[in-house]
Point group: D3
Chain length 279, copies 6
């Protein structure tokens, strides 16, 4: 691969992806809303861009083979704040990718696109949208957008519905954890698969308590290695008894399922946390 673009490169997950992605391509162009992301890896270049500005995104993707799109507001927020980077930003990425003839968008979607499904119901990659927040609603929008661009324009995409790529600090995370190593494998497989069409896959490690079903996407070759069960004894010992009536316990979205719409600032961030785009 000649040129690969990574958005949200200053975010938590984006920062972790920069090094491994730099090894898959001749040139990695990392991008975010911040002025600077510090020391660069060999083959890496930084290009600031606001997701909500089409011209900036169009310039960013010129000549690229693929884009790994992790940039977005990474927390629940009022709809007016989500609209620019997360909704219009997704459109800008796909439209620019189409205009420049990119092969594929690898997109950081989220469990929060389907977060209101009951946790006692195992959900597969074909689970209908049931967002738990405006944040999740924007993920639904981007997934449908990706489907549209595949069906009408032949632009491929892989939608990674990431569960919890963060330190394991709750009983919920015993099932939802995605380790950094497994994240890297997931993104790598999404890039290297010969053909993906428009695919959905959950981003979650090989946890004993995994609540979702990735079997429908097995052709992509993602086989996670880590298992949050190693944290189970400590986590369970410290846990309070759960309330079966608490949506944070009973829905796939966890805390996001319980918070009020538009309320940012969850104490424990369990989703991607990267670009802080300014409108």
């Amino acid at each position: 691969m000649k040129k690969l673009v990574l958005t949200g490169a200053a975010g938590r997950l984006g920062s972790y992806l920069r090094e491994p992605l730099s090894k898959l391509t001749e040139e990695l162009v990392s991008s975010d809303i911040v002025e600077d992301i510090g020391k660069l890896y060999p083959g890496e270049r930084y290009q600031r861009a606001d997701l909500a500005e089409f011209a900036a995104i169009e310039a960013l993707l010129e000549g690229a083979d693929m884009v790994v799109h992790f940039g977005a507001i990474g927390d629940e927020a009022p709809f007016e704040q989500i609209l620019g980077p997360n909704i219009v930003g997704a459109y800008n990425i796909w439209e620019a990718a189409h205009r420049h003839g990119l092969r594929r968008v690898v997109y950081a979607s989220s469990i929060h696109a389907v977060g209101m499904h009951p946790k006692t119901e195992r959900i597969g990659i074909d689970a209908p949208h049931r967002p738990d927040t405006f944040y999740g609603l924007a993920k639904c929008f981007a997934e449908d957008l990706g489907r549209l661009y595949w069906d009408k324009r032949g632009l491929e995409s892989v939608h990674l519905r990431i569960l919890s790529c963060a330190q394991v600090t709750s009983t919920r995370a015993l099932g939802t954890w995605l380790s950094y190593e497994d994240l890297v494998q997931l993104v790598t497989r999404a890039i290297e698969a010969p053909v993906t069409e428009c695919s959905v896959i959950y981003g979650v490690s090989d946890n004993d308590r995994v609540p979702v079903d990735n079997s429908g996407a097995q052709f992509l070759g993602f086989r996670p290695k880590d298992n949050a069960e190693m944290f189970a004894t400590d986590i369970l010992a410290a846990a309070e008894p759960a309330d079966p009536g608490d949506l944070a316990q009973t829905r796939h979205g966890g805390p996001f399922a319980a918070i009020a719409l538009g309320n940012s600032g969850l104490a424990v961030m369990d989703v991607i946390d990267d670009t802080k785009s300014v409108e």
Copy 2:
């Protein structure tokens, strides 16, 4: 019912709904982007509002019991044009409805939210989103939005995926026709059903060649009376042989499945055609 709001009241379908809706409520507030919609029915009042302006929509819905939301750009258009009235407009309707405590949003969704599914596959109300245009993508967004507001805020909605509410002039319409009488029944049942939660239902008459399956929504009581087969002899006699490779023939979305994204101006409009919102 004390107050019912109708958006898109100057459009083709909205115009037809004004009289029957005026009989279901003490006060019907019809709204659109135009200055004037002419003579009013008893109990009807006109209030101009731009869907893309939250303040206008909030004022419009004050004190209402329900809103019948048919306002939108009713044709494919560039994303930048769809964004305001169809996407932000949908948000404005649901958010205002929530703030004023409305019971339900009855929404004119469209077959174009699922228009890329092959026509040889009968689709039910649980068919996953597969939009055929930016127009359809905005319908997907509003359906997901409606689900979010039901799950998180208890605001009900009924999403009417209308097929072709227009004169029958093609072989496709022999299956997709929704007569005006059946449209009125559909909207009426969506309003009067005691509880709907967040429901989807196709808007189509009792045609012999109907390509979709409404059985999952039968509790709403919609039982159409008309059948486009009465037009079949003439339509079939005049039809050219179809090309099995033509997406307009083989996908549920018909002509919308075949056009380029963002290209407005289909010669034969087969969807709702109402509010011409200006951004």
Copy 3:
């Protein structure tokens, strides 16, 4: 047919079935817990029996071809009261039928065997058990018992999950009504079908607002003729707005879904109301 037995013959539905059933057989033996059911139809004989007493039931079924089993406590009641006539009584009927070599049990099951399913989800004949009361739990037991006797002993059964065979007095009944004429057709088809194995079918008329799906049992030939929509205008005009959080509105079981377990005495009986068996 030479001999047909009807239990619950003194109940509301049983009383209505006596005359039509008497015409399908040389001898109709009607039975209930009461001393006397008054004037008999030609070919009818009354034989008192307590469902909870095996000897009485065994005597009742001797020489019969089939039994139409409508006898039971027809309302929610404490488990201790349900146990005898509804649970042990069902066992007694099937076991006696087996010992005497009857061909088939036609059983009055109920929507309350699956009453906790959400009403927005259309349920078919394969809906898993989800009872709403002890009354419904006993129906689940009898359905499983019937399956066991078919699988192990070749005794056929048809389980009629009756919705609301009573006057239409609520918005719910617009969907759940089973007219007396349609009840008679339903029981007749269940008797005359050449082979039924162990089948389930909903007992409901051809209502516009029907919330269940009988298509899986169409081979039995039940095609109801009545439609509760004729009562809709009056019922809807008089109805209070429904509360979307009220289980009586949102579950298939209606009021039974909302009452406390074991609490008998619903003001509006919407299920069978027949045998008052004494233990």
Copy 4:
């Protein structure tokens, strides 16, 4: 349409189809293995051909728009006899149709392609193959062949799984009857549908006791008008009690499910009975 070919024209169903098909096309070429089929309808021409001879079939289909393929041995027979007209014959039809650029094959498949499914299980158009005879096995072969030619060569086909197109003389036929009028409608709709791709549809009237589900093929527009229930009273009065262990009673294929493989000569023919091809 300029030229339409009908095979099996001397058979029972073929004979009935000749007149209505002659009105749908400028030229109808009727064909069978016999020397002569008697008086011809206006626009009809007879051309003898053995299905098992490719050259004869290739000549037959030259210049045609579509072929209605009803020719075959219409009864169970030893595999060696089925092989020529029913298996090789099907290949000859599809291959010749492809070479001459026909648009579509309308094929008389049969319930016997799926005849071993239990009758208590309603089967849809996607029921997996489960043939009950060599006769049914050949139907399975032709259906798979039709799928292959659509997927690889774009030749459309409609596979009519006919149930019982014959006089109603058994309780089974109360569910499986296809009237001649409905047969004509079925074939007509299969011809006139603009696009069919490779479709399957059951050939059965609107019987109360219909055991199969055509909803998946509704886009073809087949809406039968007749109902075998008009024969029910007489048929049921004369019927012997059925044996629940008799495959002829409990499987969709009826008598074919019970006979020994390769045994021709069923007293009651319930399938097509047309070409008697000689190898």
Copy 5:
């Protein structure tokens, strides 16, 4: 956990569970119908109780957090014997648990609740009830009871459908074996899961030949470690050729599927074998 109750503590499986359960709670109250269960583990107390006596069970569960309910007649028996401990006993456990505010019932259900399903059909946790014995019928009853108490009263339950927790002595057991270690893991996970609502899970080890599908219950975290394949060579070498017409070979329930109803005394017990309750 402060207090945990184990019923059937004198049975084979119950005996094995006593020690590991005693480590999960401050106080383990073991119970059975026998006078004495011998030496107790630290923190364990024995309290005799007859499952069929409500007062005894109510006393047993007072102050408990959860109950692990393994007590029952552990073999097929006449219905009259099953009724007390297995049916009324289940009611007594759930009702007492509700009255004392327990959080959860962990219940030893069985494959015999679904034992008549063909073994060539892999069954998931949503397989409909299809009991093979009165023993299995009582398991169906308890599962439905558990669902009712969750839906109406918020009392959680986990239904462990145990396959064969016994020495591997047959080819069937190569697929159905549940090792003691895996049994302990299964019960432990059912207890420690934060929220279970009303769940079903199969109790079976990680056998190569496992015939059931637990994927729908993966959120509970059960990941068995043992595999009966280690016994395969010896078992297969000694096995007689199987008869494809033998229900003991072709149904999930194995020998129970083949025995006569009510006949106890299977030579090889492959289900739980614990409390011998006296009525």
Copy 6:
């Protein structure tokens, strides 16, 4: 086992199976169309037979317990060539097996029976037939034949839908590879399973990128050990970018999905390649 027959013994896969199969039986009769297969293993005997000649096959199977049927033209070919060994040959095997009372046919079916399904759709063992070649069409025929002989005559069969049992030389094979070791395990398990009825199972190793789902056949006990991922780095480094419009990339059948019907001579053989039967 006393006598086991292997057809296609001179082919690539057959050659590999000879030694392991010779150890499972007292007598292994290997067969093919060639005159001689060289040195024999202990207990092995060679018997030449043409699959298309019934008498030869009948003689071959006399006294056998089972037949492992791998003989066929192992490449796409004109239908006229496929007909004899692959279609008539399959009939000859099953019919002879029935006449001699064999217990089971273990059959080398192929992914090409379902090769036109999109690769982004994971297919299970119940995927409907969708052949990609005449070669695949013959596999469909044999699978249906096997079902017929089970349903009507109680002859068991296991249909091994082999993906790619050959050296890994393409990105497709990273998902479709079946190692020789796993092939042997697969055939062994199909032979030793006590009861199989008529089963389908995919022949594929435990590859990360496996595109099919064998869970429905787990009761057979096939648990592959190899994983093509060990070849991934080299294969991916050498691979050209794939064309998302290329059927060889997007369908399960790979190259067979893209070639013209009847065109033999694929450069890379990815299916069985054994008997070269002469008609």
